[in-house]
């Protein structure tokens, strides 16, 4: 079984979120979701914001929300450089929904946004969306309400 393992690492500028051996990872790229299993060909791709899921050898799964970044697969190493990343169980759904609503409201109300502010806001909205999706997926996975 030794060759059926991926050395997985997800790092953000803030911290090293996950560094462990896993069986598979499903990640959102700009071209759609991809699943990486051991023995994948070397790959470099750009991550979109969305939900990332990893499966461990002991069948447990972890759901992580990411907001953009890069993924590199080389040999049995999978490295993700994420702009931000959070485990679903660490996210507070109520606050995420609030934050999303706030960002959408600012975006709709503001008439004189320059391009930079607009991109920043859009990124914020998609980040919050990814976080709420991650929480929902995690709850479904664990059969919580």
């Amino acid at each position: 079984m030794a060759d059926k393992i991926l050395q997985f690492e997800i790092v953000t500028p803030e911290r090293v979120l996950v560094k462990e051996n896993i069986l598979q990872v499903t990640a959102p790229t700009v071209q759609g979701e991809i699943t990486i299993l051991p023995g994948h060909i070397p790959l470099v791709s750009v991550l979109a914001s969305g939900v990332l899921e990893i499966a461990r050898p002991d069948k447990s799964r972890t759901v992580i929300s990411v907001s953009g970044g890069f993924i590199q697969v080389a040999g049995d190493k999978v490295v993700i450089l994420a702009d931000t990343a959070e485990k679903a169980e660490e996210i507070d759904l109520v606050r995420v929904e609030e934050a999303k609503a706030r960002a959408v409201k600012t975006k709709n109300e503001a008439k004189t946004l320059d391009t930079r502010q607009f991109t920043a806001l859009s990124a914020k909205i998609s980040k919050e969306l990814a976080r709420s999706q991650a929480v929902k997926r995690w709850k479904k996975l664990n059969n919580l309400n």
């Binding site: 790092v11 953000t12 991809i34 470099v44 890069f70 590199q72 080389a74 450089l81």
Partner: protein, 306 residues
């Protein structure tokens, strides 16, 4: 008595200096704590992004479109060196160490090609490169004592990447002080553009625990999704920016540590000096008293003799 008063005055001034250096040590210590936290937080990310950048550089020989930031130029006419120094002195050999490192590296690797060197300074003390070595200074950036975030390095990064792509510069180096611990900081020089494994080891950030061979399985060819151009276009400027940002953080943490150490030494030296002066003072006071007694005794003797 004049002598003892002089000594007294000196003791006072030494003690005042000691108070100041101790205060500066405390200030540096708080700043260092914050700077150290920041540098350690992003280090894993920065190291990994550098490894990935190098692995992409190693991967370029597959005949596919190569990104301009990975292309090594045959003729290096102009080199830009971004030097991270401090704004103020009183930090021991912090500035001179990094400036000497930059000078040595230039002499070793760049001088024989006859390349022209332009300096980009971050921090005022870097201006010494012009004073001592006569290098041209192309730009000077303001250095903040606390670094807000990735935006802090954005103007430098865009200038570096822009200057390289436009062909103003054929090579971009950064010189900064690597923060190893509160007691140990090492000046380093790194080639950030082009990202190329053809550069000397010294330039690629290779150390004992990160060798050239370990950089990444160089023979592998990566599949890029959506396309090499799209991925690299997005990725490389970010990776380069991250390196500059990390260098900034490392330099900042090093500066505050160096200042703290320097001020700690100064405080200790002031303490030594004060106690030495106090001894002198006591001796000269005693000497004065003894002399006075001797005079009185001599005077008394003279009177009784009559």
């Amino acid at each position: 008595m004049a002598k003892t008063r002089d000594i007294q005055r000196r003791i006072k001034s030494v003690n005042n200096t000691k108070k100041i250096t101790r205060a500066m040590e405390m200030v540096a210590a708080t700043k260092m704590r914050r700077a150290t936290e920041a540098v350690l937080r992003t280090r894993a990310y920065a190291d990994l992004s550098w490894r990935i950048a190098l692995s992409l550089a190693a991967n370029k020989k597959n005949g596919e479109t190569v990104h301009p930031l990975l292309v090594r130029r045959e003729k290096v006419k102009k080199v830009a060196l971004i030097l991270f120094s401090s704004n103020r002195g009183l930090c021991g050999s912090y500035n001179s160490a990094v400036i000497n490192k930059a000078e040595q590296s230039i002499r070793k690797h760049e001088k024989q090609t006859g390349a022209e060197i332009d300096f980009f300074l971050v921090g005022k003390k870097g201006a010494a490169v012009y004073r001592y070595f006569g290098y041209n200074i192309a730009a000077e950036f303001k250095k903040e004592d606390t670094i807000a975030g990735l935006e802090a390095s954005a103007p430098i990064a865009s200038l570096a990447v822009g200057g390289f792509l436009q062909g103003d510069y054929d090579k971009i180096l950064i010189a900064y002080t690597d923060y190893l611990s509160a007691l140990k900081q090492v000046p380093r020089i790194k080639q950030i553009l082009p990202i190329s494994l053809d550069a000397p080891d010294e330039y690629l950030g290779f150390t004992e625990n990160f060798s050239r061979a370990a950089a990444w399985p160089a023979s592998e060819e990566f599949l890029f999704e959506p396309s090499p151009a799209a991925v690299l276009e997005e990725m490389l400027p970010r990776l380069v920016g991250m390196q500059i940002y990390q260098a900034m953080l490392e330099a900042n943490a090093s500066e505050h540590s160096a200042r703290m150490a320097a001020m700690h030494q100064a405080t200790a030296a002031a303490g030594d000096m004060a106690s030495e002066l106090t001894q002198h003072y006591n001796k000269s006071r005693q000497a004065a008293i003894t002399a006075e007694i001797a005079e009185i005794a001599a005077g008394a003797d003279a009177i009784t003799a009559e």
